[in-house]
């Protein structure tokens, strides 16, 4: 199955997209099918980044399509159709995340680095200071990549959603603040704490993974 478009010519792409939007807004059934078939691989990948469960990702994507179908009459062409759809999928994922059980914000405290009363870091022993040396190697290994994705899903929801939107979906701080109804400052704080927690968790998990690999069988 092809990705978004079968051509690499931007002018042809634009013209084809305008025609697709016209057909969608006219309610042509085949146009809706084209939209779903062409965009689902990319959009399902977005939903999978929010949910470890395939069925949750598909539910969120289906919700997003239904929202998009309802709103297609209001699509004004000021952004690309793919960008508009991406935003709708991210919103659907956020709504689904929030509909699921929430964990209290305080839980992230145990995932953050600790300091003594003078502000100096308390050593975390063998878990500390190896990520930068092993990151490249880990990125080439399927088991490590899956572990990183699973670790992101362990972050408390309020932090995970900000990390996913800023670092993975690459929305800017103001866009994320608007989507989550937060101040820009709160987005920055949550992103920073999410990244710190991710670092701490990854160090511990990758250490354990390496330990299993070198242990005699």
């Amino acid at each position: 199955m092809s990705q978004v478009s079968s051509t690499s010519n931007p002018m042809v792409d634009d013209s084809r997209e305008r025609e697709l939007v016209r057909r969608l807004q006219a309610g042509e059934s085949r146009a809706f099918e084209e939209l779903v078939r062409e965009n689902s691989p990319r959009l399902l990948a977005v939903a999978r980044r929010f949910f470890p469960s395939e069925s949750d990702a598909m539910d969120a994507l289906q919700d997003a399509y239904l929202s998009a179908f309802k709103a297609i009459g209001r699509f004004d062409g000021n952004s690309k159709l793919s960008t508009w759809l991406h935003r709708i999928v991210v919103n659907a994922c956020l709504m689904k995340l929030r509909a699921k059980s929430r964990r209290p914000e305080a839980q992230i405290e145990s995932m953050l680095p600790t300091f003594d009363s003078s502000g100096h870091r308390v050593s975390e022993g063998s878990q500390e200071g190896r990520l930068s040396e092993t990151a490249e190697d880990a990125l080439h290994r399927k088991e490590s990549r899956e572990l990183v994705r699973a670790t992101i899903h362990e972050l408390p929801e309020q932090y995970r959603e900000v990390l996913l939107l800023r670092d993975i979906e690459e929305l800017d701080t103001d866009q994320v603040a608007q989507m989550l109804d937060l101040t820009a400052g709160a987005v920055k704080t949550r992103l920073h704490r999410a990244r710190l927690a991710l670092k701490q968790l990854l160090e511990a998990k990758l250490d354990r993974l390496r330990g299993r690999e070198v242990a005699p069988s």
Partner: protein
């Protein structure tokens, strides 16, 4: 500047949004405190790993969308009060 205040401002430091005098203090602390320098390297590595492991190129199943899913979406669309919902053949 101590280790805690350095870590509190890592994001601003990396984005280059710290005021000059704070940036200089940050740089000085990093030169004098190898564990903080290592912490910064690992923090950057964690961000990079998160980004790279979730990027579409790393997802082997990206191209596969079950036909049942596509049919379910189109069926759900038929039940919606929008134009073009003539019965599918």
């Amino acid at each position: 500047m101590n280790c805690k205040s350095l870590i509190d401002f890592l994001t601003e430091y990396d984005q280059g949004t710290l005021p000059m005098h704070q940036r200089l203090m940050f740089d000085l602390h990093l030169k004098l405190c190898p564990p903080c320098k290592k912490f910064l390297d690992d923090y950057r590595a964690a961000i990079k790993m998160g980004k790279k492991c979730c990027c579409p190129k790393q997802e082997p199943a990206l191209e596969h969308v079950p036909e049942e899913f596509i049919q379910a979406v189109l069926k759900a669309k038929e039940a919606m009060p929008i134009p073009g919902n003539e019965p599918r053949k």
